[in-house]
């Protein structure tokens, strides 16, 4: 049988892949995609806990699913603003590589 831990392990692996992408890759588009992977890994564990915590009426805990709804909305807004910043940056510097953007580096 599939346990809660299986879903949590899948979620942890997915989060780690996204984290590694943010740490390793230098292309801003890929970094944004890795951020999406991390947000979705958190969503997976939220939904798993929602299904795990069945209430007295025999239904899953829908509070977690409302929270996932909010996370998805915020992630969509974040992607739109992030990609607009990327296009503005590309217009100014003709690059999407974080190694080339060092004006704010200490």
């Amino acid at each position: 049988m599939i346990t809660l831990g299986d879903y949590l392990v899948v979620s942890a692996i997915l989060f780690t892949i996204g984290f590694a992408g943010v740490m390793v890759r230098r292309n801003l588009i890929i970094i944004l995609m890795s951020l999406e992977l991390m947000l979705n890994a958190a969503n997976l564990s939220l939904v798993a806990f929602s299904r795990f915590r069945v209430g007295a009426n025999g239904l899953p805990d829908y509070n977690a699913q409302v929270f996932v709804f909010f996370v998805i909305t915020v992630a969509a807004a974040e992607v739109a603003v992030g990609l607009a910043l990327l296009v503005a940056l590309y217009r100014a510097r003709q690059t999407t590589d974080v190694a080339d953007i060092t004006s704010l580096k200490f």
Partner: protein, 167 residues
């Protein structure tokens, strides 16, 4: 859902999630992300969260991916493939990520409830959309309206950012 289907979709999600990071071509990365999100949506549906699974497909595989692909096509993507990889920095980043994974794994191992299976659901006469919508418009009404303002601000911000500066 049978364990067989769970492992198929879990492996699909993780393998294509890894392909997002490993591919050097951003178009291939974006398409891998679509497959990964479809697998994730199947996992959501295996947890009886059908509404979340469907908006996952609609919002991510539909809207967000089209946005990513548009931007990738708009910009010059050939530069990335010519760059050399800094293996030392890559090994450092992967090392930190592996340490994080080991920490989360140990925490899950010490979590007693993680070894329990999911309790059965009662046969419900209402959809989960009904329950989520009722919570959204009663208990979570204020956050819902704040989210609306946030989306409006994001829209205005995107228009301002992508406007060409008059010289």
């Amino acid at each position: 859902m049978s364990p067989f289907l769970f492992w198929i979709f879990a492996v699909l999600t993780v393998v294509f999630g890894g392909a997002v990071v490993l591919n050097r071509n951003p178009v291939a990365s974006a398409l891998s992300l679509v497959v990964s999100f479809l697998g994730l949506s199947a996992l959501f549906m295996s947890l009886d969260a059908f509404f979340i699974g469907i908006i996952q497909v609609l919002v991510y595989a539909g809207a967000v991916m089209v946005l990513f692909l548009f931007i990738v096509m708009l910009l010059d993507i050939r530069v990335e493939e010519r760059r050399r990889i800094n293996w030392l920095a890559a090994a450092g980043g992967v090392g930190v990520a592996v340490i994080l994974l080991i920490q989360i794994y140990v925490v899950i191992g010490h979590f007693q409830s993680a070894r329990r299976t999911f309790p059965p659901l009662a046969a419900s006469t209402t959809d989960d959309v009904w329950h989520i919508g009722r919570l959204l418009f009663s208990n979570y009404n204020l956050p819902f309206q704040i989210i609306g303002v946030l989306v409006l601000v994001a829209t205005i911000g995107v228009v301002l950012l992508s406007r060409r500066e008059p010289r």
